[in-house]
């Protein structure tokens, strides 16, 4: 009989909605503004903080690795740095 090489909990793993680290890219519609130290997006011809952008279903949303985290999956931190 083949012995298990996967921990018990692996059978419960569920795909994250947010992209993997390598899949996250800041799109052209968004950039990081070093002056105000916040992410910004272009709206009506001017750059505004992403957290103040209008809720427009047609407009792209910033993709972050935290799409799951925002719903409570908040253990994506690894030990300290790694």
């Amino acid at each position: 009989m083949k012995r298990s090489t996967e921990p018990l909990l692996f059978r419960y793993k569920q795909g994250c909605c947010s992209p993997s680290r390598a899949g996250v890219q800041m799109k052209d519609e968004f950039r990081y503004d070093e002056d105000i130290q916040m992410a910004v997006t272009l709206e009506d011809g001017r750059w505004v903080p992403v957290i103040e952008m209008q809720d427009d279903p047609k407009k792209p949303k910033p993709i972050t690795k935290k799409a799951d985290i925002e719903k409570g999956d908040d253990q994506k931190d690894e030990r300290r740095w790694r």
Partner: protein, 320 residues
Amino acid sequence: MIVIISNQFDFAIDYVVRELNRRGENTLRINSEDLINHPVVTTFPDFSYKITFQGKMMEINKQLKSVWFRRPGKPFEWLSHKEKPSPQVLRFVEDQWHSFLEGLLAIPDVLWVNNISRNQDAECKIIQLMAAQKVGFKLPKTCITSDAGKAKAFSDMLNGEVIVKALYAPLIEYDDKDYFIFTNKIKPELIDHDSLKLAPCIFQEFISPKTEYRITVIGDDIFPVTVNPGNDSTHVDWRKEKCEIKFKSCEVPSLIKKRCFDLVAELDLVFGAIDLVERDGHFYFLEINPNGEWAWLQEEAGLDIASSIATTLAKGLEIP
């Protein structure tokens, strides 16, 4: 000066930075994935700790009053696998930068939210459970084991009403996709020796029906909310619900508030996001997330957590 260590995709930070900007606080956000573009220097015997931003070398040790250790990014984190340096180079570069940032701990009289080492300690579920019990919280019956026989006996004792969850952050990263292991109910017949012996798990009494609470503590402030994942009070893990879930600001008994503050203090933290469940008037401790998320509560539950964090950081240690 207030230093925030995170990454540029961490939009929760933006709420706090906006508040600190409004207050005119001298704030430096270090997106640590980008540090390779910011020359640094530390000198002895006349200690100085400097980082370059926007072409200017800032002497941080002379002005630092608080550090928010949030979610540091990794150098080269956003490159595709093809573009990244070798794993050996990555590891080396990450380690060196981490060590340099840890050097901020050498600067005296600084408030850390949270201290790096205390954060790490508090991530340990066994330490959490012990601390929660010490401050008076009830705990669900719990068995942490890698022994299938012990796990099955525990399950039998509770008539199979048992959940299983990971002992440490269960994020599994593959090249193309990430996976997460939430809390699940487990049937005793699924507990097998070969897979359980590879890694211990937490087996815990399944408390149901229940009301769930997320209680965020920051310094002297506390923000309790109820978590309502629809009409089903017998669900296992609210984090699995992505759309239907509702968070509502609420009150909890003063004794429970006190225990939350006591727990954060016991773990030597400033910030903590605590998960509790209540059944028949009794509150049970599930876990504390020493670096838990909160930004969704800012919008949905109308809680100004960002302002509370900003106030805490702005106060620093308040040394007379």
